[in-house]
Amino acid sequence: MQMIAEKIKEKIKELTENGKISRVMGWKKGLYGYDSEPFVFENGDLRDFTYDAFSGANLCKYMIAQSKNDGDGKILVLLKPCDTWGFELLDKEHRIKRENIYALGIPCGGMVDIEKIKKSGVKGITEISEKEDTLILKTMYGEKEVNKKDYLLDKCLVCSSKEYKDCDELFMTDLCGDTAEYDRFEEVEKLEKLSSSEKFEFWRSQLEKCIRCNACRNVCPACSCVKCVFDNDNSGVAAKANANDFEENLFHIIRAFHVCGRCVDCGECSRVCPQNIPLHLLNRKYIKDIKELYGDEDEAALLTFTTEDKEPSVVYERGKNNV
């Protein structure tokens, strides 16, 4: 990874010198080596630039604000394969000014979930370095080596494609790791098989944790409304916090419905949730439904139709097998 980061830096320098870009949207080193964060690098200053196993954050949504002004020149954005899908959606929905962006597809071999490492009992991490698939953890209590593959982010566990969309240039993307072997619908299927009350209990226990921090919404490339309906005092459903259980449900059902057919399954909602609610399971349910009911279509499922679509009663018939 360090090698890749260096090469990316060189590439950025080359593009800057050629006058193709003026700024860079990338990841900035944190204090400990596992807390890199999105950052805009300006004036060619790349001192704190990093691209490591913890650069999981999808940068595409920052492009809404960053590409707005025509006078600022082009901004380079670094996109992993799954980041590009959201990027494409934003472009398709006219949320970004594509002409002000230089999208560089970069390789990804799966990103690591620091929470998983911490949960395994490793404490006091001060620095992390990488050597191929090994993470070398320097802690206050000594050094430890772990296999990166054992601590991947949930979204990387079900990585379904290394396809890049809508990029201006692909850089070293042949270094991408393999896609995962896991079936991304497995978890959804498991839930579908539960009885009605088990499902209810499961979601209740999950959604009651929601503190309405709106992180899921803010990171989601499909949730890009100028003003969210839940923030709009005039909408009749505005709520800054969940006043009761119903509103927890309402928020998440409606959010899932609003991104239904547009969700690119980047998994960012679950990654950023401070309460670890598996929000991606709501969106993935819709993806599964759409696939099963309508097949592959070019247009978002709710924005099109065929005259032979299934009737809503299909839901009852399907449910009959597992009450």
């Binding site: 119903f246 509103e247 059902i253 709501l282 809503p312 449910g319």
Partner: protein
């Protein structure tokens, strides 16, 4: 009704049912049921919308939030929409919404979509009776009821 609490408790459960009807077919079908004196449950209250595609999932959830026990959507038969394609969108939206409600363990039997034309007064009445009966059997909306703002 604090004074006759005992009486209220024994009183038969009267569900609250909202029927969203499109103006051109189902609302006219309801009118036909009326002029034909085809009785149906008084628990059903109709809200008129121009087209079934006007019905936002939020309306349905809002109804449950406020204490409805069942919500039924009625529109023109697919292919007969006054606006030509509105109900096709309704069909997709509601299929997916109901599927999600089911996935979250919320009783799917409390929501339904029916296609009722302006000529189907009898179907309107029969459908509403049948739906009201179903809801009565299910009793008060619990899963959504428990979550309800009281």
């Amino acid at each position: 009704m604090q004074t006759d609490r005992g009486v209220t408790a024994e009183k038969e459960f009267q569900p609250k049912i909202i029927a969203f009807c499109c103006n051109w077919c189902s609302y006219a079908g309801a009118d036909l049921a009326g002029s034909g004196r085809l009785s149906y449950s008084a628990d059903v209250k109709i809200i008129r919308v121009p087209c079934s595609c006007r019905i936002n999932p939020m309306f349905i959830l809002r109804a449950f939030q406020k204490g409805a026990d069942g919500v039924i959507l009625a529109g023109c038969h697919p292919g007969d929409c006054h606006y030509s394609t509105g109900n096709y969108f309704t069909r997709r939206r509601m299929t997916l919404l109901f599927s999600m409600l089911d996935y979250m363990g919320i009783e799917k039997e409390r929501t339904r979509v029916e296609w009722i034309s302006a000529a189907e007064g009898a179907k309107f009445s029969a459908t509403m009776n049948e739906f009201a009966g179903e809801i009565k059997k299910l009793g008060r909306s619990k899963r959504l009821g428990d979550l309800r703002c009281r």
